[in-house]
């Protein structure tokens, strides 16, 4: 290609140009990647802060819910004597109709039945008779298990460990597909949070319990913070069971309540690796953990409950962490195990975001591992982009097995295998074929879109508070505020700790001279108004309240129950409804005139309350 001498200089010139071009493209690529990363990051932050903000709202009303539970006297009688439990849970008189096409279980279960169950759940539901039977057997088994599961990787067995599943059956099926189902050669540890949020929580439980029954020496279950009936009231599991099992749901839930309290707390592999759902604190002591009566330690045993409520109260009461009663000390130990999160700097501080457990630092990990002669803590509890994440100098591993947790494409799930060398081997996955077709930037955009939509809803829901905050700043009533004030006002109202300035191009359509027309902005934030703002905000809480009041889980509450609830609620939420209004409400709420109130009527009542407040004296009639 040309003669020697000129070739070299020409070549050099071309090479030089190519180099410069390459560097230019690379610079731009890196900028592009950084911008993508920022979007991914704030999208992630939005989801995470919404998750915890949700919880925070709950914490604020937790006092009320606890108070309600303590003070509410059901007008119906409830089965509560121990001796009657066996009869209450009896499944013998439940007949299975011939047309039932789901699995018919025979006990003791075997491997084929368990595998068949997995297959069947793809499109069938297990009959309540078998559900109760399976749960009873599980309860019997769990009662003889210790608080600390001890596993060994002898016989060169690899142990598979899974994190949060949260009712996402697709992910469990994907894990079994990739890794094989539990068996003598394939031991599994499941690290809690099997239920809530996803739609197939009960199926996941039944599968895990079935394998536990078939392979009790090779399947280990840890308790997660969502294996708790109060949490279930709020996050969907209770609703799921009552919907799927209309006749026997309440019994199933009661039995599950007992089962959850009997789930082991931690698992230790080869006396070297600790597997626990949340984490540890600076006072975690495995010897103590081994000794507690785990099924008795619960949040509703009187004293510990009240101390817990005040500890969770966000109106800063003095630190009531002097748990002098051993019952409370045990409760704290368990809370720490199930609720704590790691933090990157040293120390141990209460976990205010979650309202239970603590944030623990690398020094606490170090101390704990040394004291107990361990080398690694595997925990779950927090969603991670790639399904897993190390911290504390690779001494703590977070493992999360529910992919697409926030939204399709938001994150991968992962499970880990440990052989005798105790070196973790990770497998990541993402359940849903939709994500495979999308490139990374498309994924980011899609997830971002959902996050922003959710964020706009939150902003809209807090419209009145935000409006007040803006008007406080805009004393001259110009209708305009500057970006800085806009950002700080939003943060003051929502407490989401989000980068509002970075987000503002996505949330604000235009500014004039750096100022924002906030009335126009609210109009732009148009959200479909199918329900009123206040109701929307309190919706889940109202549902929770209903389920608490409905003590026998029948789906109905009496007029008296309702009246009492309204009185308690009005005192707590400072809604000031007079007795007269309450009486009127109670009567008018029973729209189908059957003498009792179901959940739809209950929710309607609160829409009514809002309307009457807003319409100030207009008739309570509505179409």
């Amino acid at each position: 290609m040309g003669c020697g001498v000129t070739k070299t200089s020409e070549f050099n010139r071309k090479f030089d140009k190519a180099m410069k071009a390459a560097v230019l493209i690379q610079r731009w690529y890196r900028q592009y990647a950084a911008r993508m990363e920022v979007r991914r990051r704030y999208t992630w932050n939005i989801f995470q802060s919404m998750e915890y903000a949700d919880l925070q709202d709950q914490i604020k009303l937790y006092n009320f819910l606890g108070y309600l539970m303590d003070n509410f006297t059901p007008s119906k009688n409830e089965v509560c004597r121990d001796a009657e439990w066996e009869r209450y849970f009896s499944y013998n008189n439940i007949t299975v109709p011939d047309i039932y096409s789901g699995p018919r279980l025979t006990f003791p279960l075997d491997m084929d039945q368990a595998a068949h169950l997995v297959e069947a759940f793809k499109n069938k539901q297990l009959h309540s008779r078998y559900v109760l039977q399976l749960l009873l057997e599980t309860w019997k088994l769990l009662r003889v298990l210790p608080n600390i599961n001890r596993v060994s990787t002898c016989h060169s067995k690899e142990i598979t460990i899974c994190g949060d599943l949260h009712g996402q059956l697709e992910d469990l099926l994907l894990i079994f597909y990739k890794n094989g189902m539990p068996s003598l050669e394939k031991p599994y540890v499941f690290n809690g949070d099997y239920v809530d949020r996803g739609k197939d929580s009960i199926e996941i439980l039944l599968i895990l319990f079935a394998f536990l029954l078939v392979f009790p020496g090779d399947v280990y279950l840890n308790r997660g913070n969502h294996e708790d009936h109060i949490i279930n009231l709020r996050y969907g599991f209770t609703k799921e069971v009552l919907n799927k099992y209309k006749l026997h749901g309440k019994r199933i839930l009661k039995l599950l309540q007992k089962i959850f309290s009997w789930l082991p707390l931690v698992t230790v592999i080869d006396q070297r690796v600790l597997i626990v759902h949340g984490g540890i604190s600076d006072t975690t002591d495995l010897a103590l953990i081994a000794r507690v009566d785990r099924h008795r330690v619960s949040r509703t045993n009187g004293k510990s409950h009240r101390i817990l409520s005040s500890a969770l109260s966000s109106d800063s009461e003095p630190e009531s962490s002097e748990f002098t009663d051993t019952g409370n000390d045990e409760w704290k130990q368990i809370l720490d195990l199930l609720w704590s999160d790691p933090m990157s700097h040293d120390g141990c501080i209460p976990n205010e975001v979650r309202g239970g457990g603590c944030y623990w630092g690398p020094d606490v990990t170090e101390g704990f591992l040394n004291r107990h002669n361990l080398q690694l803590i595997i925990r779950s509890h927090e969603c991670k982009q790639d399904g897993y994440e190390f911290c504390h100098n690779r001494k703590v591993l977070t493992l999360f097995s529910a992919s697409n947790y926030y939204e399709v494409g938001s994150n991968r799930g992962a499970f880990v295998r440990l052989g005798p060398d105790l070196v973790p081997y990770f497998v990541q996955y993402q359940a849903t074929s939709m994500t495979r077709g999308l490139s990374f930037p498309q994924n980011v955009k899609r997830t971002e879109h959902t996050a922003l939509k959710v964020l706009r809803e939150q902003l809209f829901v807090h419209k009145s508070d935000l409006l007040s905050a803006f008007q406080e700043i805009d004393k001259e009533n110009t209708g305009l505020i500057c970006l800085n004030d806009w950002a700080s006002a939003i943060e003051r109202v929502l407490h989401l700790d989000l980068p509002w300035r970075v987000l503002h191009p996505q949330l604000v359509s235009s500014t004039t001279d750096g100022k924002l027309d906030y009335h126009g902005w609210f109009r732009d934030l148009h959200i479909e108004q199918t329900m009123l703002e206040t109701l929307y905000r309190h919706r889940s809480t109202l549902e929770t309240i209903f389920r608490i009041v409905d003590t026998d889980n029948s789906g109905l509450i009496t007029f008296e129950d309702f009246r009492q609830t309204l009185k308690l609620l009005s005192a707590y939420l400072k809604m000031e409804i007079s007795d007269e209004v309450i009486n009127e409400l109670v009567i008018s709420t029973d729209t189908n005139n059957d003498g009792s109130i179901d959940i739809d009527e209950f929710m309607e009542a609160f829409r009514l309350v809002d309307k009457s407040r807003l319409e100030r004296g207009k008739s309570l009639e509505y179409t």
Binding site: L24, Y29, R30, A34
Partner: protein
């Protein structure tokens, strides 16, 4: 060829220049940088800085490794060499460990902002035209991948993949003007 000098192991190894650049730049001194940002800009930077801050108590600190990403996220596009320069040429192992706070970040960012030779749309297209063998407005995807992964500040395979995803046509060619628009629009 000059004989290579045998380098003795030193307790504090002398920093090597990251790229074979002929003129050696003077060391970066943050104290010498005059900050010209407006208050609004600084607020914007703070917000973005916080996004990168991974300390749980929000100490407003980021690692050295994040610094380059943050500068880029704020709209600049320095080379890796330039980033290392303003960071004071830290060692590889320091990148994940050493932190800087917002005050330390500002002069670094200012210096990058002032740098000339940012690269316009035309520069970019010119650069790609080098690889346009037939002069028809397209480059071979395969060649571009090779160049990006082997020349200059090499990109990793998955980075190249991310950049080029969906850009090649059925013949493996890329229309580079469209490509540039894609990169610059993000």
């Amino acid at each position: 060829m000059a004989p290579k000098k045998k380098e003795e192991p030193k307790p504090a190894p002398a920093p090597k220049p990251p790229e074979p650049e002929p003129p050696k730049e003077p060391e970066f001194n943050p104290a010498e940088v005059k900050l010209e940002f407006t208050a609004e800009q600084i607020e914007d930077f703070k917000d973005a800085f916080q996004l990168f801050d991974r300390t749980p108590t929000n100490e407003m600190k980021i690692t050295y490794a994040q610094c380059g990403d943050l500068i880029r996220a704020l709209g600049q596009n320095p080379t890796n060499a330039e980033v290392m320069h303003v960071l004071g040429k830290p060692k590889a192992e320091e990148m994940q460990v050493k932190m800087l706070d917002f005050e330390q970040f500002l002069p670094i960012h200012q210096h990058i902002c002032k740098a000339k030779d940012r690269g316009t749309f035309e520069d970019f297209v010119e650069g790609l035209r080098v690889f346009d063998k037939e002069g028809n407005g397209t480059v071979m995807g395969a060649e571009l991948r090779h160049v990006l992964a082997t020349l200059g500040e090499k990109m990793k395979e998955d980075e190249v993949e991310q950049l080029m995803a969906g850009q090649e046509d059925a013949n493996g060619c890329i229309n580079y003007e469209a490509f540039v628009k894609h990169i610059m629009a993000g």
